[in-house]
Amino acid sequence: MSVASPAAQWRAPPVFFATRGRQRAAIAIALLYVAWSVSTLNIDVNRALAGIPRAVDLFARMVPPDFSRGSLLAKGMAESLQMAFAATLAGVLLSVPLGIAAARNLAPRPVYLAARGLIVCGRTFHEVIIAIFFVKLFGFGPVAGLLTLAFHSVIFLAKMLAEDIENVRAGPIEAVRATGAGFGQVVVYAVLPQVLTRTVGTAIYRLDANVRHSTVVGIVGAGGIGQTLSASFSRYDYDFAAAILLCIIALVALGEWFSDWVRGKLR
């Protein structure tokens, strides 16, 4: 009974693959892979169950948190904060030349490629790996932590700055260049005003991130509250560890609130 009439059936074409059949095949392969992975992991139910009473015991020993060693706690927190502030400052200062060098629309091609290469390499390694490396070089303590955070801040801020610079309007750059301005003047007049608020926002975000990360790098011996936390765990001082964790939570929340507040003030 179907006569040659306009088609009345329509279904949206598949999103990921050219045909519906291939999409189904891909989903089937993915499911098979997950099933195979799980089967090779040797998940031991008994072992997982045995962890539960241990967890209950651990949490029980965490209450009440022990704030009696306040000076140790305060020293660690202060050290973490100092690491975060100093690393952010160093990161901001050093990221400006690197960010400009890594901006396609400002830097000559070879400089751009070298700077991008440095950024890619720098981002390859997680903070903890860099921290282990710096602890080997400079010994235990906050110097290694500070350098780790500073290194990562430079790389991160430079990458963000380079991307912001690449997104600025090209017209003002052209106009400032046409007045006979030099490179520095082009940066200061046409680029800086266009990226300034975003860059300040990114730096504040990075400060917030550094406060968080400063608590982590201490675990591999790079100073700060993380190192105190790690030591308390290895001595089974779970009540003290609980106090440290509560302080970290408070500090990070404070950092996030501050970061939001400052960025809200920026236009």
């Binding site: 309007r169 106009a175 006979g180 046409a190």
Partner: protein, 277 residues
């Protein structure tokens, strides 16, 4: 303002103000935007450059101050060939060439005053310009310039707070702060309404005359070109297809530049536009 219509390479043998010879630009990828364009400017006059999109108007004026690097030919401004200049000399030469843009190209987050003063960047050191420490003479000139282009009192407004016409006035002020020997003007009115467009063209023309500065004006609007230019250069396929007084624009010429179309409503007898400078 009875400026003689056509600039021939002066019979008295005086060096031309600007001589563009055989200027070519092939973009990477092979697009030939300019294909041996040549013309001479011997007296301060307003020259409209017309032609269809892609005819090379924008490339032409950008090759003159080398925002776009020409691939061949020469551009002589007051005797120096700009195409051969090194980096430092090119900066020096750009100081003498003011440029006005279609999208105004102001720095939005800077004030009107900072945008106008940026016309002096070629003459002020890096640190002084960064700290906004301009010579008092420049600042006095900038105030006078703002008054001249009709923006008195707006010096501390941010550029992005202004209307389109006001923003183009800032752009004109910035270009003239350079005290240029040549004005390059790229579609100054394409982002403006017809009335503002006429005001802006009139302002550019008046200021160019006052300062005896030749102006090359890329413009889409043939009626505006006829109303405000002394001379018209028509580009077609990167070459100069017409070069003559604005009054010599006939339907035949427009057909040659743009292709066949009914031009009788674009070109009307002089006087009917009522838009003298």
């Amino acid at each position: 303002m009875a400026i003689a219509p056509r600039a021939a390479p002066g019979p008295d043998g005086a060096a031309p103000l600007l001589a563009v010879e055989n200027l070519s630009k092939v973009y990477p990828g092979g697009t030939r935007a300019l294909d041996g364009a040549s013309f001479v400017v011997s007296r301060p006059e307003v020259i409209a450059i017309i032609g269809s999109s892609g005819a090379g108007k924008s490339t032409l004026i950008r090759c003159i101050n080398r925002l776009v690097e020409p691939t061949g030919g020469s551009v002589r401004l007051g005797g120096t060939d700009l195409v051969r200049l090194g980096k430092a000399e090119l900066r020096e030469a750009r100081r003498r060439i003011g440029m006005i843009f279609q999208e105004f190209n102001l720095v939005d987050r800077l004030t009107v005053m900072e945008n106008v003063l940026s016309g002096r960047l070629g003459s002020v050191g890096f640190l002084a310009s960064w700290l906004r420490r301009y010579p008092p003479r420049d600042i006095a000139n900038a105030y006078a310039m703002l008054e001249r282009v009709g923006l008195s009192g707006l010096h501390d407004s941010r550029a992005d707070a202004l209307s389109g016409g006001q923003r183009q006035r800032v752009g004109i002020g910035r270009a003239l702060m350079q005290e240029p020997d040549l004005l390059l003007v790229d579609e100054p009115t394409a982002s403006l309404d017809p009335k503002t467009a006429r005001q802006i063209m009139r302002l550019i023309r008046t200021l160019a005359e006052e300062r005896a500065t030749p102006a090359l004006v890329n413009i889409h609007d043939v009626a505006l070109a006829r109303g405000f230019a002394d001379r018209v250069i028509g580009l077609k396929g990167g070459r100069v297809a017409f070069d003559g007084p604005a009054s010599a624009l006939t339907p035949a010429v427009l057909t040659d530049i743009y292709g066949a179309e009914d031009w009788s409503r674009t070109i009307r007898p002089d006087g009917e536009e009522g838009d003298g400078a």
